[in-house]
Amino acid sequence: MTFNLVVRRIHLYLALFLFPWFLMYGISSVPFSHAAYFDQRNRGMPMWHLRTERPYDLEIPENANLDEIGARIFKDSGLDGSFGTYRPNERQIDVYVYTFWKSSQAKYLIDQKRLVVEDRRFRWDHFLTGMHARGGYEHPAFLEYAWAGVVDLVCLGFIVWIATGIYMWWQLRRTRSWGFLALGSGVLLFLVFLLAL
């Protein structure tokens, strides 16, 4: 097997393996780029549906660990999935639970001693943008790590496609001048954006 063939096969098989991610990142970029259009389509519709609301009393110490408190609220709310804890102000702690298909939140209203659990209405644009934005190694669950690992692999895939793509282009002598023109004008335009934006 020649080096040339190895390069071609890596380019091809890596692309085929990562095809679902490639397509997902492409399609899910549309609602990011045209967010105003999708928001307009859903204007007036409530984002959250109330699931439960009940009295709840959890003592919040002065130097409380937010993650530990979030874990307790998460457990008491009967939610399922990976979660993040946020404190938008001194009177409230939010636990946000996200899966690709469903998102929920538990809001602990500290001064009212109430726990409100809400489910987010499903929207295809949110489903896509949620998948697009998912990543990072902050969550300890194995599948979360695995997803983050694949996100890194996709990034490496992009870099490998650039390198192998340029190599394959260089092998096609008759395309070099037009290729230079395409590559050069792309780099130039990108530099213009960097300087002018």
Partner: protein, 188 residues
């Protein structure tokens, strides 16, 4: 191929910026939490007087023009409140301009350059909501990149199918990818 060569800088930027965002924890350890600090670039007095009915946006735009820093910005505060803070959203060197109405003092600060923050700013820049032509041009380039990605997905499948000897291993690669993606879809 020519489309891919033209869009190479975008491909590289999106790949590197995604990697930077995927390893936010690492960069937090490296730089500490919170946004990058600002450092003073220059300090000057603005002799221009603004009429009492001038809007905050108009004042901010004029100040940026006077400083040679025209472009997309957000503004906080008001002349009535004594102070305006303008955040000029430059992708390479974001600036914070503070205008104090009482003495006409202008403080121009530049954000300390950090590669991950720069990449993330480029990654997140999109949409047609801004008033500047260059911003619309950038948004169009992002849209062109999206169309190209979907086109590459389709043309890539077609080119693979044309290479008869790669069909078997190609099908195995694609099936493994689809199966893994489906597993994530069901479990995450």
């Amino acid at each position: 191929m020519y489309l891919a060569l033209f869009l190479t800088p975008w491909v590289l930027m999106y790949a590197l910026s995604t990697m930077a965002m995927n390893h936010r924890g690492f960069f937090k350890n490296l730089y500490g939490t919170g946004p990058a600090p600002y450092e003073v670039e220059k300090e000057q007095t603005c002799v221009r007087k603004f009429s009492s009915d001038a809007t905050t946006a108009a004042i901010a735009k004029q100040l940026l023009k006077d400083l040679g820093l025209e472009g997309t910005y957000t503004v906080r505060g008001s002349i009535g409140g004594g102070r305006l803070t303008i955040l000029r959203q430059d992708p390479v060197s974001p600036r914070r301009i503070t205008y104090t109405a009482a003495d006409g003092r202008l403080l121009v600060e530049k954000e300390v350059f950090r590669v991950p923050a720069f990449l993330e700013r480029m990654h997140r820049r999109r949409g047609y909501q801004h008033k500047y032509l260059i911003e619309d041009a950038w948004a169009s380039s992002v849209d062109a990149f999206i169309v190209a990605m979907i086109f590459w997905a389709g043309s890539g499948l077609w080119m693979w199918w044309e290479l008869g000897e790669t069909r078997r291993w190609g099908a195995i690669s694609a099936a493994c990818g689809v199966a893994l993606f489906a597993l994530f879809l069901l479990k995450l």
